[in-house]
Each structure stands twice: as C-alpha cells, then as structure tokens.
Amino acid sequence: MFDNLNSKLDRAFKVLKGQGRITEINVAETVKEIRRALLDADVNYKIAKEFTDKVKIEALGQNVLTSVSPGQLMVKIVQDELTTLMGGQARDINLKGNPTVILMSGLQGSGKTTFSGKLAKLLKEKRGKNPLLVACDIYRPAAIDQLKILGEQIGIKVYAEPENKDAVKIALNALKEAKLNGVHDVVIIDTAGRLAVDEQMMDEIAKIKAAVNPNEILFVVDSMTGQDAVNTAKAFNERLNFDGVILTKLDGDTRGGAAISIMSVVQKPIKYVGTGEKLDAIDVFYPDRMASRILGMGDIVSLVEKAQENFDKDEASRLAKKISKNEFNFDDFLTQLGQIKKMGNIKDLMGMIPGVGKAIKDIDIDENSFKGIEAIITSMTPQERQNPDSFTGSRRLRVAKGSGTSIQEVNDLIKQFEEMRKMMKTMNKFQGMGRSLKNMPMFK
C-alpha cells in the first residue's frame, strides 16, 4: 500500500545514514524530506508541518550519541508518531442494539455501496449476523439495482422501495420491517453520495440519522483523496458526528496520506479498509501495522493472520505430515493451490512481506498463472497424480493434449514439482526455523 511514501521516506533516511549522529543541521534536512514525502502522499499540509515539527523535537531530545544508527532512531520516532497520529489501537464497530443500525455516508464514488456489501458479508460470515441491506440512494440511476445485485451475490436480503422518493421513509420502513419480523439483527443503510457543501443533501442524511438513531455511523472515504479529505471529513463530522471512517481502494498504489489527515482532524478511528473489488476484500485497520508499512517494514502480521484464516488447519497438518514423509503428490499440490488462491490477490500477499513490497511494485503477477497448472494436473489420471514418478513420454503427451497446453509446459511443471519435492526434503531438516524468526526485532 503506501509504496510511494515508503520510498520517499527511505530516501529521507538515507540522508541521515551516512551521518554519525543527529545534529540540528542534518536533522533539518531530513525533516524537510519527510515533510515533502508526506505532502506527496497527500497528507494535509498543516498536519505534515505539525508532524515534522514534532519529529524534529523528538529527534533532538534523544541521546543521539549512544544510538548505533541515527537512521534507525529516526525510523522509530517517525513510526511512533505516525501510529499515534493514526489513532494508536485498532477499533471495532459497535454491534449493540437490536437490530444494530449502521448508517453509511460519504461523497459520490467513495465506495459506499460496495463497502456496504462487503461489511454485510463479513458480519454474516465472521460474526454470525443476519444483516439487512437498505437501498436509500434514490438519486443515482440503477443505484438500487447495484445493491440488489451485490445482495444476491452474497446471499443477503436487500430492502428497497424503487418507487419511493423519500430516503428517510425508506430507512424507517426498513427498520420497522426488521423489528417486526425479528430475523435481521443488523440493518445497514446505504445512502446516496453527497458533497459536504450540498445543504439539501446533508439535511437529508441528518434526517435519516435522526429517524433511525444509528448505533454506528460510518464515513466512507476514497484513500486517493487529496488535501480536501480534511475539509470533507470535518463537514460530515459536524453534521453527523460519525463513529468511524472507512478507507476504500487501498489496493491502489501511492496514497494514504488521507488516513493520517482525517484521523488527526476529526479524531475518529479508521475501522475498516477496502482492499479490492472482490466482496471479501475488506480488512480491519491497524494503525501500527500501517505505520510499519509506511516505513517499509512490511506487514507480516496481516499476512500470517490471512494465512491462518484461510488455511484449513486439518488440511494443513495432513499436508505437513505428507511433506515430512516425502509423500507429497500432485493431488496435494492442487489442494494447496486452492488454499493459496483463497487467501486473495497474490501480489497483495507478497506486498506484505517486508522488503518485497517495493521490489514487486512494478512487476505484474498474473492471477491466472495457476490456471494452466490446474489444467495440467486435472488432466492427469488419479494414479498419475498420486505417483509423480510415473510419467512416460506418451503420458506426458496425453496430459498436454487433455489440458490444452504444450508438452514443454507439462515437462516444466513436472520438473518444477520434482524440485519442490527435493526442497521439501531439505526443509524437513530445518525444523527449528520458526524459533529463529522470533529473534528478529519486528516480532518483539
């Protein structure tokens, strides 16, 4: 995510790297670089100024002579300050109330409808809730249809009144119905996008708020927003006193300054982030991880959690056993591919590995690259899959024909598979690897 700010700060720290210690003079240069990096990342200029002033005071206050590397010291100071700015701890949404009423708000095109769908899916699948989505965008053509289609895709009921031109009434009716039938314990109200300067529209959403008395009001904002993020967030907050911020489209590149700006201006936490077009591309916002990420330290914690969430434990231990006995076959390989795919976008995953984010910034990883492999493996007979050593030339030719690939591709896959097995054999000898990781600074 914050690749650009990353590399900019990298450069800023490089200025310090060659220096023996932090002095008034060389810190001034670094502070200027940091400020510019923050501006390039769309951090509000006032906040950037405050931030760099704070960092400067911190840096000069430190006993720099005992520090091994001034660069590292600065990294720590900047990281701590960024974390504080972004709100310190991760915070959950409020699910009290029966039903819980969640009201979405934001500008046009910020991603309210898509996020409403993602949130409903998340609450249904991970919190055991039964949400009702309510379509209150009565203005944009086909906005109601959009929510209905999303609802269908995730198996969640959508309440809509296509003929009703009163968003307040629709919201009220939806809430009434949810209370009456008692099936839905969460009601998510999707609203039309509106500009903060549009008095009429701001009145409308204020009226919706007054009518349904939401437990949670979320302000949805595009993570690519520039300096204006501060104004918009302030205006919406003044009218709605929202409870949390949703940062969308974080799967793009460069931006993120909006996150820092908004939180420090309205003092409301960012609760979730949107990280892709798929409806499960939603994540909790972790200020500390994001700060690490900004500083190019990677986001190993998210990666591990993602893996744990999506990997079937029994399946994993079964695989581990097979690997340790060197019985890993093509069937297992296929299962494993399926599990990796479940984890989401491969590039996103790799980006979470420290140091990798920058390296793969410009490299494209084909999400479909598994397809050919899957085609080849599924064209093998069950016997062949279980006995990877059984491949004769004619079998290879048959598999190539069956999978619509070339014999060369089949040969490559079999060769790679054999190498993988060899590597697994070697890996078995290094059982203690996990322990050495714990000694790395970022896990402390």
């Binding site: 086909a142 906005a143 289609i149 927003t225 460069t254």
Partner: protein, 317 residues
Amino acid sequence: MGIFSFFSKDKKENLDKGLEKSRDGIFSKIAKAIAGKSKIDDEFLDELEDILIASDVGVETTLKIIKRIEARVAIDKFVSTSELNKLLKDEIVKLLNENTIEVKNTFEDLKGFKPYVIMVVGVNGVGKTTTIGKLANQFMKNGKTVVIGAADTFRAAAVDQLKVWSERSGATFVSHGMNTDPASVAFDAVKKAIEIGADVVLIDTAGRLHNKINLMTELSKIKRVMSKSIETAPHEVMLVIDGSTGQNAFEQAKQFTAATELTSLAVTKLDGTAKGGVVIGISDQLKIPVKYIGVGEKVEDLQVFNREAFVESLLGL
C-alpha cells in the same frame, strides 16, 4: 454553439459558484499574506507554497510556479496585490499553455470523422458513467446522433445505470449485459454506429485501479479491437479524474496513458470543496490537456475546460 459555447454569462456564474470555496480560500489567504507588505518576501512565498499545496497542485509544480514568480519579481521588484494576482494567474495559465493546446470547441474534433469514437477510462468511482451520460445528452441536444457502448460489464448494475442515461438522451444503446466481454461490446458499438451513420460513439469502461496490470491489459485490448473496424478509432481516449483526488492522479494519468495513450482529461466533482489544483500539475507534467470539468449534477454542469476562466475563478479574479 449551443451548450458548448462555454462561459457565457450564466455559465461563468455557474463555474464561479462551483469554485467558490476554492476561490475564497486562495484569495483571502493571498490577501492576508501580503497585507501591509510593500514587496514580495520569503514569508509570502512560503505562504503561497502552502496555498498551492493545499489546492493539490503538488510539490513539484508548486515549486515551479514559485520559481517563475520569483524570477518575475526579480525583474519587476515592486509588486502590489492586484499586480500579484494577475502575475499569479498569468504564470499558471502560461504553464498550461506551454504544454498542451487548449480545446476550444469540442465539435471541431468531430470534423472529418464519422463516427468519432470516444473511449472513457478511469479508476473506480470517478464518474465515468455519469460523464458519458452528460456528454451523450449534450451531443444529442446539438443534433448529433450518439451510440453508447456499455463496456463496463463488471460493476453491478453499471449497464442499467448507463441504459437510463441513454434513454434520457435518446442515444442508441449497445450492450451485451453484465459479465460479458467488454471488447466485443466496444467492437459492436462501433459497428452499430457505422451501420446507422452515427456521429459519435461513447464507450464506457469498468473502473479499474491503474496498478492492476491485468485489467490495464484488458483496456488496451478494448482499445485495439475498435481499430479493427475503423483504423483511427478510438479518436479520443479520455481519462476521468475525481477532482478531490490528490497526487495519485499523476500515477493514474501515467499508467492509463501507458495502456491506452490518453488524449484528454475530464475532471469531475469540482463543485465540492476540492480545489482542483491537480489539473494544473497533470497538464504541466504529463502534457495531456483537460477537456471537460464537472461542476454539478445537471447535464450542463459538464463544461468545456477554459483555462483562463478556470484560473480566474480559482484565484477569484
């Protein structure tokens, strides 16, 4: 020229109104910065830097503008408030004019091409579909026949949304429904336009983040396919940018150009509090002209971008 005779009296008012917030900001700040001063000093230039940065102009372009003003002031020495406003406007307009040719009349572009094919691209949620709807309306109102190709086959209900717009405008609508091949929709839209002798083809595409290379490749393909029936098509590839976008807009313009060779920009949602300064930076650094700006929800609120008027409105002159 009807709707496209931009900035007639009421048009200008509209733009002024839309940009009011930004104007107030810059104008009052500049006035404050130079109040009680007889010449430009570093403090003023610092203030100006903040103002430009706060308008999303971007660090690089801001420094460029400041350098130019410094150079001008070095020659002129004494500068008053009104002179300074003019100077600032001059320099920004000059910056825009140096790199790209201003689009004066969008109907001029249509000459010699029938149909004239416009492909509209951009990241998610910038207002592509709405922009196409408004464009279709404007063209139809001016007696041009329009075909709309619904090649956003991905986002839920995008086709329905565009269909509503085509019904409102009376444009011919070409669609294969959701989750179909967007390139074949584009191809058929162009084919249909040739068949019925339409003047303009507008191709909507699905929003995509510019760092998703697979999706960008898809976009290149959509573009390529259209040139199969008309060699010169698309005649225009327009990137729609959300006016509140920050510095990421540069990267968007860069990547979309790499995939589709952009010819123009449309900047939307400038009726909010966003300053729209990103326009200056992109034109300067990427040499792609802004053709339209969106300053409201109504059809006529999509206006041809007039540099002079825009900078004037921005600075409150």
